[in-house]
Symmetry: C2
Subunit: 227 residues, 2 copies
Amino acid sequence: MGDPIGDPAFEDLTARARIRDAAIRLFAERGIDGTTVRDIAQEAGVSPGLLRHHFGSKEALREVCDTYALDRLVKIKEEFYLEGKVANPGFLPSVHPTIVLLYKYLTRALLGGSSGAAAMFDEMVTLSEQWVRKHAPAVTEDYRAYAAVLVGMQSGLLAMHDHVSRTLGVDIFTTEGHLRMAGALADFYSHSLLDPEFVTKARAAMEPPRAPNPPTATGTDPGAEGA
Amino acid sequence: MGDPIGDPAFEDLTARARIRDAAIRLFAERGIDGTTVRDIAQEAGVSPGLLRHHFGSKEALREVCDTYALDRLVKIKEEFYLEGKVANPGFLPSVHPTIVLLYKYLTRALLGGSSGAAAMFDEMVTLSEQWVRKHAPAVTEDYRAYAAVLVGMQSGLLAMHDHVSRTLGVDIFTTEGHLRMAGALADFYSHSLLDPEFVTKARAAMEPPRAPNPPTATGTDPGAEGA
DNA sequence: GCAAGCACTATATGCGTGTATAGTGAGCTA
DNA sequence: TAGCTCACTATACACGCATATAGTGCTTGC
């Protein structure tokens, strides 16, 4: 019943807001299909009919949640980067639970085919593409694909959160787990795993003469070699 | 009605096999919850009751599909690596559609909490860990986390397949799309995106004295900076 | 003080779902 | 040919779901 979607606007302590927050929480945790209108109502402490009264339908509620979550995340980032909160050491820890929740929700939304989340994905790809062009232009020749893969992997990693947490023995959404994951991610981004020459050779061998070789679905992954 | 799960065993052209194949296809395409027993029956050209007759329940059918998909993938890989099909240029293209289907299915299974798929994930992490230790020991100090992130990203990328395909303008499960994605992936693995020194500095700044900094959920992602 | 409006509840309706049961007909065995 | 087995179908059942409708009581403005 607490409000994990940090400091809401004033008019927002209403039942309507409680419903929306409960929905985001449950959608994030159990998925859209895994959550019933009754679950949300119970979590929000209201009757199921009130959801319809305020939002019309489950789908409409979901869309409200989408835009709210997106908006909330943007607001937090603005606050962080634009309002000088970067310097405030207490800010990030204070919003961390909210951010975790929002990311979980948006990951679900991405998987569930939400158009708002899809738009966010596209925007992240565009931004990443620009970033790479500017700061690391040498890493690829196909910036668009590179950025798409980057964002896809990044958000996909979140989608696989359960499995990553399990193999790590620690929930990656706790501070400890996140630190561990972020460390590995940093290693990942800052050291090349494969020999560039090997890759160019492999590419050359695969592409030009006859290319009968759309390899396994995760072709270049060293991990997929086993079994 | 065609049988996309390549050359089945002889006794396998039975209705039972058709049901199983139809289930894998539909589960892969629409997800577990998005597929009804009736859908599967229709796709397999049988009556819904027959599913129960052969498999007992939808959940039991799902488990059969899990182990079958896993088994099938292993078989194909064995055939490829162990039976000298590596040299055969026609082999990969011939099994490509099957592999795509199996990967789609297994990604769904991963997302849907299948225990078999989870075991596969764990095994892939272990194999990746061994591979990194052996072939690229310098990239990290935390091999386990590195491998978990590697496999998580790789499978997560598949989970985000719709979005990646959309931003790329080409389905990554077609030969063309896959080639493009694999190229970006190869760039990704063979060039470091971030300056190692920058990362070690950042790590040092974050870790030791006070660590009020469990950054955003995708902290180190350059793409997440924007907005 | 009174009526209108609105947040909210209780209850009902219809549908899609997984599952259960009874029945049918072809093929095999004796 | 008689009878049995078993793959398979048709139909029914029970249930959970989203959604719809009717009703209630508090709040507000006049």
